[in-house]
């Protein structure tokens, strides 16, 4: 039997209890439409939709089974963790090895994001900067820690010339406000 769950952000920013009834109705309609269109979803035991009702605007950032989302996050964590094993000249062009502590800090930061947030892609620069990035339409964001150990979040609309950079003193700085801002940006 298909069980449809409209959830708030599990580990993150908003509380779905404040979602306006219209938003919930719309989310249900989308869930049902998705189920009808996608047999895989219809058969899923746990269809999970994130609603984010800030400013009265319904946003759905990620749709999928909880198990499949967890698997995707696990793959991302695995890719990032593999960077800890990289050594000098990892790319054959003198690439600086990422600091394992920096990789761990990124993993800790990601653990603070809600499971149903858009899943980013890992990235590693040849100067040792490590992190992840999101790209959705004109919305771009990256969360990285540079070779000096400074973590920062960058938000950019690609149709504009510049973005916004937030320095994060520690993974704990990924709080509800930052998560909300990132979610809004990527929506």
């Amino acid at each position: 039997m298909t069980s449809t769950i409209i959830s708030g952000i599990e580990r993150g920013s908003s509380n779905s209890s404040s979602a306006p009834p219209k938003a919930l109705v719309l989310a249900l309609a989308i869930a049902m439409a998705g189920s009808a269109l996608n047999p895989h979803i219809q058969e899923s035991p746990d269809l999970r939709i994130q609603t984010n009702s800030h400013d009265g605007v319904l946003q759905i950032s990620s749709i999928g089974t909880k198990a499949s989302l967890e698997a995707q996050w696990a793959r991302l964590r695995s890719r990032l963790a593999a960077f800890k094993e990289y050594r000098l000249n990892w790319n054959g062009e003198g690439g600086v090895a990422p600091n394992p502590e920096h990789v761990e800090a990124i993993l800790q930061a990601l653990a603070r994001l809600p499971i149903d947030m858009s899943i980013p892609k890992p990235m590693l620069s040849d100067d040792g900067e490590v992190g992840v990035y999101w790209s959705s339409g004109n919305a771009f964001a990256d969360l990285t820690i540079d070779s000096l150990g400074e973590m920062s979040l960058y938000l950019r609309s690609l149709d504009e010339e510049g973005g916004v950079l937030k320095v994060l003193p520690s993974p704990d700085a990924i709080d509800e406000r930052v998560i909300h801002e990132l979610s809004q940006h990527l929506a």
Binding site: R79, N91, G92, E93, K121, P122, M123, L124, S125, D126, D127, E129, Y133, F140, D142, D146, E150, S152, Y154, R156, L158, E161, G162, G163, L165
Partner: protein
């Protein structure tokens, strides 16, 4: 005594560092010079396009698209590209495959590289990019005897962390938009 062609001298050095380039206004003057007068078609014009090779896995992320951090050559020794007007795609492909084969032979212990495609980007788009109202990129004619179409794209001027992030994201966006199959 000033060098006769400082641009050519700079790019002839194997140990060159882009951070050693002069201020942006001097770089603009260098853009009118040519690195190899006997082979070059002349300085890179605004109405030209560049063809940049995209190599797996160096430039590629998990979704098989160019990664935002894969073009750090802009800040290290210059981002190499071919001038589309002066190099056929077949020549660019042969150059790339030859270089990749050599690299794979010399680095048998590392993941094998392959040619994923090319990114075509407009010179004027790149030259329009600014940081704090100052041009962020210079594009130099760095023709070589074996490749008269060779050009280098380099970051110029001092940049703080936000400016670098803006620039690399803009360049990534242009290159990603211009991606074509090899």
């Amino acid at each position: 005594m000033a060098a006769e062609n400082p641009c050519a001298e700079f790019f002839a050095r194997l140990d060159r560092k882009i951070e050693d380039l002069p201020e942006p206004d001097v770089c603009t003057a260098w853009e009118a010079l040519t690195a190899c007068p006997e082979h070059s078609p002349g300085p890179v014009e605004d109405n030209e396009e560049l063809r940049r090779r995209i190599i797996y896995p160096t430039h590629i992320d998990t979704a098989d698209a160019p990664s935002p951090v894969c073009f750090s050559d802009l800040w290290s020794h210059g981002l190499s590209a071919d001038r589309v007007e002066y190099r056929t795609v077949g020549q660019s492909r042969a150059d790339a495959i030859g270089a990749i084969d050599d690299w794979n032979f010399d680095n048998a212990d590392k993941p094998k590289r392959s040619l994923r495609g090319f990114a075509i980007v407009s010179v004027s788009d790149l030259r329009r990019l600014k940081v704090n109202d100052i041009r962020a990129l210079a594009i130099f004619d760095t023709a070589m005897p074996t490749n008269s179409s060779h050009a280098d794209v380099c970051a110029v001027g001092r940049m703080d962390k936000l400016a670098k992030r803006d620039l690399r994201t803009s360049v990534w966006h242009f290159l990603k938009k211009g991606l074509v199959a090899a």
